[in-house]
Structure formats: C-alpha cells, structure tokens
Amino acid sequence: MLLATLQGGPAHGYRIVELLRERSSGTFELAEGTVYPALHRLEREGLLLSRWEVVSGRRRRIYRLSRRGESTLARRRRQWFELADAMKEVLA
C-alpha cells in the first residue's frame, strides 16, 4: 500500500499518511508514527529512495519509488488482484 501511494509521484510521510487515509476512505486508521519505520524498511530494501527538502521553510524527507520499487509494486499488485479475483469466485 505504501508503494502504491508513491506511484503518483514523490511525497513526504505526512502526505503518504493522508493518501492512505483518503484512498481507503478511513478504513486504515493506523498510528501515523508507525508508517515511518515501514518507510525506512522499504528504503533499506532498495524499493524507495529519499532525501531532505525544504518546502515553505519546513524540512521534509521526501520519498519516491526506485526502479526496483516500481517493478515490485507492479508484481505485488498483480498478485493481489489475482488473489482478490480468486476470493470473489470462492465467496460468490
């Protein structure tokens, strides 16, 4: 999900949390601070890249997808849709 929020372009943690909340219509109400360790893990795995930027006088750590992150997102999305389709068939 975190990778998917960055598909539209780079974003900082605050915006990523906003996107998660908006896209899930409030379904994923999580402690906002727990998103950052997950972002750090994805960065260590080479799926994200990040750097500090100053926007309107405020320092922000901006995250973006790496090439590996993009291909991983595409693969996981495909796997998820296949699983979701199978579940629909079973539950229908």
């Binding site: 605050y14 999580l30 402690a31 360790p37 750090h40 893990r41 405020r58 320092r59 750590r61």
Partner: protein
C-alpha cells in the same frame, strides 16, 4: 501532550540507529499536523495534543521503530559473521600448510593434528550456523537468525582458539618459521570481525523494547 514532550519521550525510547533522522521526521510530521489543525481554527495547544494522539502512543511508535532496527541489525550481523568465517580459513590451513618452511617431522605430532581437526570442525560448524542465520535473516525470522548467529560466533571463537594453539605449536616445532606476525595478524582480524559480529548481535537484541 505537547510536541516537545512527545519527542523527548520518543527519543528516550529509541535506539541510537537512525534516531536523529526519525525524530526529525516525526517532528516535521507533528508540526505539519498541528499547523493544519490550527488553520482549521483549533487552538494551538489542543492542536498539538491531537497531533501527538494521531501519531500514536509513544511506546507503540518506538516499538515499531525498534523492531525495524533490530531486523536490520540482525542482517548486518549475519553478513559480518560470514565475512569472519571466510577470514578464518587463513589461520587454519592456508598459511601453515603453504607458506611456512617444510615441516621437519615424519609424523605430525598428535596434539597438533588434533588441534587442526578440532579447529576445522568448529569452523565448519560455525559456517553451518552462519548459513542458518543468514537464511533466517533473509526470511525475517529474527529469533532464529539471532540464535544461529550466537552459535556461529561461539563456534567461530572456539575455532579461533584451537587454530591459535595449532599455529603456536607449528611455529614451535618447525625451526626458521617467521610467519608469527602474519599468523597473529590473521587471527586478530578474525577475532575482530567476530567481535564486531557479536556486538551487532548484542545491539540487535538490545533494540527490542519489552512488550
């Protein structure tokens, strides 16, 4: 809770690894949340309280961060351990058999042969534990990785001792040997690498917060 107090408490619970960066990101997030609330007409003190509440209880956030740090430290330690194991090959057989003057004995002294075999056996055991640790770390099985790492370090250290004894005996038995510095250096490098691996392992364990 104010943002200042929240960050102070969070900083107290976090491990040293990446603490500064995480605290900066947390502060940036909290101040942005509070500013957005103030812009909606919320009183500043109440905005800070709501921002810290949404960020999550300090213990929950710190635990998530510590678990991530521990996972990374375990992986780092396993890589160090494998590096140390590879280095151990030098003091075991590479140097004594190939670079020292030819041995003068017709039959190798029993204790020397025994020490070499013991060192090799322990090294192989250490290598096996190291492979288990790396595999477990790759598949995010942190407890198994740490156990494998601990055993690899213990077996590796014991192998170092046995190899050191064998090297000392070899140098004593073969006149004209001048490779003591090389042998000592190789052993020291291996021991240092093991110490580093052990340290990283200890760190990975320390970075777990009690539940």
């Amino acid at each position: 809770m104010t943002i200042e107090a929240y960050l102070r408490e969070l900083g107290r619970l976090l491990p040293s690894t990446r603490r500064t960066r995480f605290l900066r990101e947390a502060e940036s997030h909290l101040r942005e949340t509070a500013a957005a609330l103030v812009a909606k007409g919320v009183e500043p003190g109440e905005a800070e309280r709501r921002a810290t509440e949404a960020f999550g209880p300090v213990e929950v956030v710190a635990r998530a961060f510590c678990e991530e740090s521990a996972r990374h430290a375990t992986r780092r330690a396993t890589v160090l351990t494998l590096g140390a194991l590879i280095l151990l090959v030098l003091p075991l057989y590479g140097i004594p058999e190939n670079t020292l003057p030819p041995a003068t004995w017709a039959v190798k002294p029993a204790d020397l042969a025994w020490a070499q075999q013991l060192a090799t056996g322990l090294w192989l055991a250490s290598l096996a534990f190291g492979v288990v640790a790396v595999t477990a770390a790759v598949f995010d099985r942190a407890p198994l990785a740490r156990a494998g790492l601990a055993l690899a370090v213990a077996a590796g250290a014991a192998s170092c001792l046995a190899a050191g004894y064998a090297a000392a005996r070899w140098l004593g038995e073969v006149p004209g040997s001048e490779a003591s510095a090389v042998l000592g250096g190789s052993g020291a490098v291996a021991l240092l690498a093991f110490a580093g691996a052990g340290l990283a392992w200890a760190t990975s364990k320390r970075e777990h917060l009690p539940r």
